[in-house]
């Protein structure tokens, strides 16, 4: 089959690779119909995530048609399914608590040592996201092997086209959990850093959860426009000092909750970010948390800090004084996708949530390497790219 593969920093190719096979009884094989490129794929593209190996197949936002099932899979051939990016066994302590991304069994014994050393305990498995999370092949390919297929995949009813449901695989539940972790109360003002897909879905979710006002922060005009269209007030951080702006816009109280939809590769030319960039590239520190520092200072006393943005290693100059003295609550984590898919699918079906507004381009697998380049270089025009394996090469603006 054809597959989009990672070879080195800024070197993504399309290769012919063997087809996946059923290995365990609970496996299923999916013929991919849509697979998106995620913002977190840029962390791989930029070489920020360790333990990628040349030849790894990318892609963790996947959906398709069931074409083969193991003896203990509950799926049926022909079903259309969306696949959560997190792989979860459904029977360990964490899965029983619905902390699916913390699954204790989905990272194979041979790869779980690495994250145990880095983080104290092994991470759960994930598709197409380096060997720290199991070394599973991703779905930017014609076919995908799905382990524990009786737990993860959600069956999609006929009549809901791919573009409406694909984002159940990651970014929609990630934005939703980002807002849920902000513990929003009626009347709250919520500030969201980053208006990429997760940020936009967090804005949408925050309003659904009762936020009075959402203030969105970015510097790409197209993305700020999208945030505005969802009802958010917007701040372009190249135009205003964000912390002062938030102070004034909230009457000196500060936002009740702040959401980090940026993660480890903050943009912007603040002095701390420049130092962090130098350190990241010399491996003296891995993460650039300039946005998160700003958030902790901007958040009101006793407020909530939610971190769906991805971080991987260590960060310097963590404002621990501000965190403690103001009594902030911090909640974070990889998304427990399986916890939210059913509820969000219902809301999509009822028309309460729309995700299609985000997609800027459709493209074939063969266009994959070009699409990575555009996704990296032109985040203003490329707001979300969906690859469709059957499509004629040549990207189409949606």
């Amino acid at each position: 089959m054809r597959a989009v593969t990672w070879h080195a920093r800024h070197d993504v190719r399309v290769d012919t690779v063997p087809d996946p096979e059923i290995v365990n009884p609970r496996d299923a094989i999916i013929k991919i119909t849509s697979t998106a490129i995620c913002g977190s794929d840029l962390h791989l593209y930029d070489g920020y995530i360790p333990t990628m190996r040349a030849g790894d197949i990318l892609g963790h936002e996947n959906m398709g048609e069931v074409v083969e099932v193991g003896s203990k899979s509950t799926l049926k051939k022909g079903q259309r399914v969306v696949i959560p990016f997190t792989i979860s066994c459904g029977s360990c302590f964490f899965c029983e608590k619905q902390q699916f991304s913390a699954c204790d069994n989905s990272n194979p014994a041979t790869t779980s040592d690495m994250s145990e050393m880095l983080y104290g305990y092994p991470m759960g498995g994930a598709f197409g996201y380096a060997h720290l999370t199991g070394g599973y092949a991703g779905g930017q390919a014609e076919y995908l092997r799905v382990p524990y297929s009786d737990v993860g995949p959600i069956v999609i009813p006929d009549g809901l086209e791919d573009d409406k449901v694909l984002f159940l695989s990651d970014i929609l539940p990630t934005g939703w959990m980002g807002a849920e972790n902000a513990q929003i109360e009626h009347g709250d003002t919520v500030a969201v850093w980053g208006c990429g897909p997760v940020g936009l879905f967090a804005i949408q979710s925050a309003f659904i959860m009762g936020a009075h006002k959402v203030i969105a922060i970015d510097h790409f005009p197209t993305r700020l426009e999208l945030a505005k269209s969802m009802g958010a007030d917007v701040l372009n951080f190249t135009e205003v000092d964000v912390r002062e702006a938030l102070f004034e816009m909230t009457g000196g109280i500060g936002p009740d909750a702040v959401i980090d939809c940026v993660g480890m590769e903050t943009h912007g030319a603040a002095i701390d970010n420049i130092l962090d960039t130098v350190k990241a590239h010399t491996f003296l520190g891995t993460d650039r948390p300039a946005a998160l520092r700003q958030m902790i200072l901007a958040c009101r006393k006793g407020g909530r800090v939610s971190i769906p943005g991805v971080y991987g290693g260590m960060a310097d100059k963590w404002p621990i004084g501000a965190m403690m003295e103001k009594g902030l609550t911090i909640r974070s984590g990889q998304t427990h996708v399986q916890k939210y898919t059913r509820q969000l699918l219902e809301m999509i079906g009822e028309g309460k949530i729309d995700t299609t507004f985000l997609i800027s381009h459709h493209a074939s697998l063969e266009d994959g390497p070009d699409m990575y380049k555009h996704w990296h270089d032109d985040q203003n025009a490329y707001t979300k790219i969906v690859l469709k394996p059957g499509m004629t090469p040549g990207p189409v603006r949606v």
Binding site: M1, A3, E21, C89, S91, F93, A109, T110
Partner: protein
Amino acid sequence: MTGYQDSDAPLSVARDNDTACEATDGDEKAIVGRTVTINRPREEIYAFWRDFSNLTTIMDNVERIDVVDDRRSHWVVKAPAGRSVEWDAIVTEDEPGRLIAWESAEGADVKSSGRVEFLDAAPGRGTMVRATIAYDPPGGTIGEWIAKLFQREPNVQARRDLRRLKQYLETGEVTTSASPSARNSESPTEQYL
């Protein structure tokens, strides 16, 4: 096995390996160990372990385990350069649902003993399985490659074996990321790393 003055932890985490070894009955020189919580009842995990032939499912480096009789089993373990190490293990203690202890039979290349304890975790949280292995690193040529097997590896091996035990008993399968890649050297159905 308690060798500490002030700590309630298992011997395998001792800062000083000699203190830990002195606390055991045998005269082995090194101790490794690992505890894993498995979301299954004690009796079930004990029963799985007590039938030693089951252990090939979760022990990656074990080629074969022949159960000779109720107390004696014969182990064949993969060694570097395509060779293998064999020995007999004798069960020395057996408390159903609680504990299995064993030691290598007279004349084994590597003198070793081990025990696996099945402890109740907090209510509703299954069982803590604690494996402790004491062994005597051998000298000579044979010792060199056995050392590879037993000296640097046992901790990693124990950790991975127990993780596979947990996967198998909790999910019914041993987790694998066996997947295609663009690396020609790998079979799509074999696990790498």
